[in-house]
C-alpha cells in the first residue's frame, strides 16, 4: 500500500500536469520536425535519370530499378550490363551514376553480397541512398550483405556516420528524458524537506527508493520513446531515403531495440537518482549529473569504434546498449548478447536501488550539512 502510494504520487505529479507531459513529449516532436527540415534541405528529392552499370544479378538489379522508378520522384534507371572494370571506370569518369556488383551466381541468401560503387556527384549519392535502402530492405529478411564502396570516401563517411549516429542519439535523448524527470523528483524532494517528512514515517527505505525508480523510469521511458520515434522516423528523411527503409527491420530487431532501451532507462534513472540523493540541492545534483552525462557520452562514442571488442562489453553499462543497438540497426540480430546486456543493466539498476535505499538510511547523507 505504501509502495503503491509512492508510485501513484510520482505518476500523479507527471500525468496531471500538462506542462510536464509536453516537456516529456516535446523533444521527440522537435527532433522529428527538425530532422525533416534539415533532410529537406540536404536531400531534396530530385528527379534523376540514373545510368547504372551492373555485373551479374540481372533479376535483382531489375527489382532495384523497378523500386526506384516507382518511388514517385519520376526518376528513371537505365541498366547497363558490363564487366566490373568497365563499370568502375564509367563511375569514376562520371559517365555512370553507380555500379552494382552482384556476387557470382547471386541469390538473396547468406554468404552472397552486393557491392554498390558510387561517386561524389549528387546523382550518384542519391542513387546509392535509394538503392541501398531497397537492397537493405531485401537483405534484412534474407541476410545477404550489402557493401557500399565510394570513390569519394569523405562523402561516404558522412553518410555512414549519420547511420552510425542513431544509437548515440538514442542514448543522448534517453539521458535527457531521465534527467528531466529525476533531478527534481529526488533532489527537489530532499531540498524541500518532504523527503525527511517521508523518512519520519514508517515506510521502508527500499520502498521509497523503488517508489521513485519505478514510476520515474516509466515516465522517462515515454520521453525516451518519443525521442526514439522522432529519430527513427526522421533519420531516413535526413539520409535522403524514405520510410520504407524502416520496414527492413524485423519484429525481432525492434523488440531487441526496445528491450535494450527499456533496460537502459531505469539504469540511467537510478544513476541520476543516486547522485540526486547524495546531493543537498537540485543545483548540486545537476552538477553531479553532468559528470554522469560526460561518462555516458564518452562510452557512447567509444562504442562507435568498439565493434571489434570482445563479449566482455556486455558487462559494461551504456557501452553494451549502444553497441548492440548499433549492430541491430546495422542488420545483425545479436539476440543473446542483447538479452545478456539487458540482464546486466537490470542487475546494475537493482544495485543502484539498493544503494539509494542505503543512502536514504544514512543520516550523514540525508541530514549532513
Amino acid at each position: 500500500m505504501k509502495l503503491a502510494a509512492l508510485i501513484k504520487k510520482e505518476f500523479h505529479r507527471f500525468f496531471r500536469d500538462p506542462r510536464l507531459i509536453v516537456t516529456i513529449l516535446l523533444p521527440g516532436i522537435v527532433i522529428f520536425l527538425l530532422y525533416n527540415i534539415i533532410g529537406s534541405f540536404v536531400n531534396t528529392q530530385e528527379k534523376y535519370d540514373y545510368k547504372v552499370y551492373v555485373t551479374g544479378g540481372a533479376e535483382y538489379a531489375g527489382i532495384v530499378k523497378d523500386a526506384i522508378e516507382a518511388d514517385g520522384s519520376g526518376s528513371t534507371v537505365e541498366l547497363i550490363f558490363a564487366s566490373e572494370e568497365e563499370g568502375k571506370a564509367a563511375v569514376q569518369k562520371g559517365e555512370a551514376s553507380a555500379l552494382l556488383v552482384f556476387s557470382e551466381n547471386f541469390t538473396p541468401a547468406a554468404g552472397n553480397s552486393v557491392q554498390i560503387w558510387y561517386g561524389g556527384s549528387e546523382e550518384s549519392l542519391s542513387f546509392y541512398t535509394v538503392a541501398s535502402a531497397v537492397l537493405q530492405g531485401i537483405a534484412q529478411a534474407t541476410t545477404f550483405s550489402v557493401e557500399p564502396h565510394s570513390f569519394e570516401p569523405e562523402e561516404n563517411f558522412a553518410k555512414q556516420f549519420i547511420a552510425n549516429l542513431l544509437p548515440f542519439l538514442v542514448v543522448t535523448f534517453v539521458f535527457s528524458a531521465c534527467m528531466s524527470v529525476t533531478l527534481e523528483s529526488v533532489a527537489g524532494e530532499k531540498e524541500r524537506g518532504t523527503l525527511a517528512t517521508i523518512l519520519a514515517t514508517s515506510v521502508k527505505r527500499s520502498h521509497i527508493a523503488l517508489g521513485k525508480i519505478l514510476p520515474l523510469s516509466c515516465v522517462a521511458a515515454i520521453g525516451a520513446a518519443s525521442s526514439f520515434l522522432g529519430v527513427v522516423f526522421s533519420l531516413p528523411k535526413l539520409m535522403g531515403a524514405d520510410l520504407s527503409v524502416l520496414g527492413g527491420y524485423g519484429f525481432g530487431s525492434y523488440a531487441l531495440l526496445f528491450l535494450l532501451i527499456l533496460s537502459f532507462v531505469p539504469l540511467i534513472v537510478s544513476a541520476i537518482a543516486s547522485v540526486s540523493t547524495l546531493a543537498r540541492t537540485v543545483k548540486e545534483a545537476s552538477g553531479y549529473t553532468g559528470v554522469i552525462m560526460i561518462a555516458v557520452m564518452v562510452l557512447s562514442i567509444v562504442s562507435l569504434a568498439a565493434a571489434s571488442l570482445g563479449d566482455w562489453v556486455i558487462a559494461v553499462p551504456v557501452l553494451n546498449a549502444v553497441l548492440f543497438m548499433g549492430k541491430i540497426l546495422g542488420g545483425e540480430l545479436p539476440v543473446w548478447q542483447s538479452l545478456l546486456s539487458v540482464g546486466a543493466n537490470l542487475i546494475y539498476t537493482a544495485l543502484l536501488v539498493w544503494l539509494i535505499a542505503k543512502m536514504l538510511s544514512s543520516e550523514r547523507i540525508m541530514f549532513g550539512k
Binding site: 502510494a5 517528512t197 519520519a200 514515517t201
Partner: protein, 262 residues
C-alpha cells in the same frame, strides 16, 4: 514509561557527535574533526504537555528532535516514546510520533487533500480512518475551503496549516516540531501557535525546539534549556523562571556556563 506520572517521553543520557568536514572546521574555527552535538542529555515530557527545548543555534535542539523522530541514531544513551526505544524499535516510534520541521516546503503541484491522503498512506492509515481524520482535521483547522486548491496557489499561512495537519495525519500521541515558527511572518506564526494550543487541548504531547522566548512563555508547560549540547536547566516553566522573565533567566544561566561572553 510511568503510567502514573503520565511520562510519555523519556530521554536517557543521549550523546551524539558529528564528523566535521574541513569546510565546517573552518566555519566553526576549530581544528577538531568531531563535534559533540548532544552530550549526555536526559529529560522527560508528560502527557498533554508542551515541552520546549530552548537554546541558541548549535545547542543541539534539532539533533535531539531528529533522534526522537528516529531520523538519526544516538551514539550513546537511548530515548523512549510511549515505552518504545528509538534505537531498537524505530518503526514503533514512527507510528506514534508526528514530525514537522520549519524547513518543510510542500510541493506546489499537489492539493492539501491529495497530500493528506498520501502521508496517511505513508503512515499505513486505512482509507476509512483516513477519511474520518480528514473530515475532522480539515474542519477543525479550516482547511475545507481550500482542500482542492494546489499548494502553489495557497498563502503561506494556509500552506503552514496543511503542513501541520499532515504531521498529525496518523493521530500520533507525540508531536515533534523543530523550530515551528522559524522564518514565519506574524500572521503565519499565529496560525502555528494556535495550532499547538489546539493540539494540547486535544490531549497530545508536544515537543518543540525554539530560540524564541515568547513562544515558550506563551505555550510551554515545561522547558529544557540546552547550551552546547548539555541540559543546563530542565523543569516546569515557573520553576525555571522563579519570578523572572524567561529571557532574563536564560541569560543568567548562559553567563553561568559560558562566562560573560555576550
Amino acid at each position: 514509561m510511568d503510567l502514573f506520572t503520565g511520562e510519555i517521553v523519556r530521554v536517557e543520557n543521549l550523546r551524539k557527535t558529528f564528523t566535521l568536514s574541513r569546510k565546517q572546521q573552518r566555519a566553526e574555527k576549530t581544528s577538531l574533526s568531531r563535534k559533540v552535538a548532544v552530550d549526555g542529555l536526559s529529560f522527560s515530557a508528560y502527557r498533554g504537555e508542551i515541552y520546549g527545548l530552548l537554546g541558541p543555534n548549535g545547542a543541539g535542539k534539532t539533533t535531539t528532535l531528529r533522534i526522537l523522530s528516529t531520523l538519526i541514531k544516538p551514539d550513546e544513551g537511548d530515548a523512549f516514546i510511549l515505552g518504545h526505544s528509538v534505537r531498537k524499535e524505530p518503526q514503533a516510534v514512527r507510528d506514534c510520533v508526528g514530525f514537522l520541521t520549519s524547513e518543510l516546503k510542500l510541493e506546489g503541484f499537489f492539493t492539501p487533500d491529495y497530500l493528506f491522503d498520501f502521508f496517511g498512506a505513508m503512515h499505513g492509515v486505512d482509507k476509512e480512518t483516513l477519511a474520518g481524520r480528514k473530515r475532522e482535521l480539515f474542519s477543525r483547522f479550516g482547511i475545507d475551503a481550500f482542500s482542492q486548491v494546489k499548494i502553489a496557489d495557497l498563502s503561506t499561512g494556509m500552506k503552514q496549516k496543511v503542513s501541520l495537519v499532515i504531521s498529525i495525519v496518523h493521530d500520533p500521541d507525540v508531536v515533534i516540531f523543530d523550530e515551528p515558527t522559524n522564518g514565519l511572518d506574524v500572521l503565519t506564526a499565529k496560525v502555528v501557535t494556535d495550532f499547538l494550543g489546539e493540539l494540547k487541548r486535544m490531549g497530545k504531547s508536544v515537543l518543540l525546539s525554539t530560540h524564541i522566548f515568547s513562544l515558550v512563555e506563551k505555550l510551554c508547560d515545561r522547558v529544557g534549556i540546552l547550551i552546547d549540547g548539555k541540559m543546563a536547566e530542565d523543569g516546569p516553566l515557573d520553576a525555571i523562571c522563579g519570578g523572572k522573565s524567561l529571557e532574563e533567566r536564560f541569560f543568567e544561566i548562559y553567563r553561568g556556563i559560558k562566562g560573560d561572553v555576550l
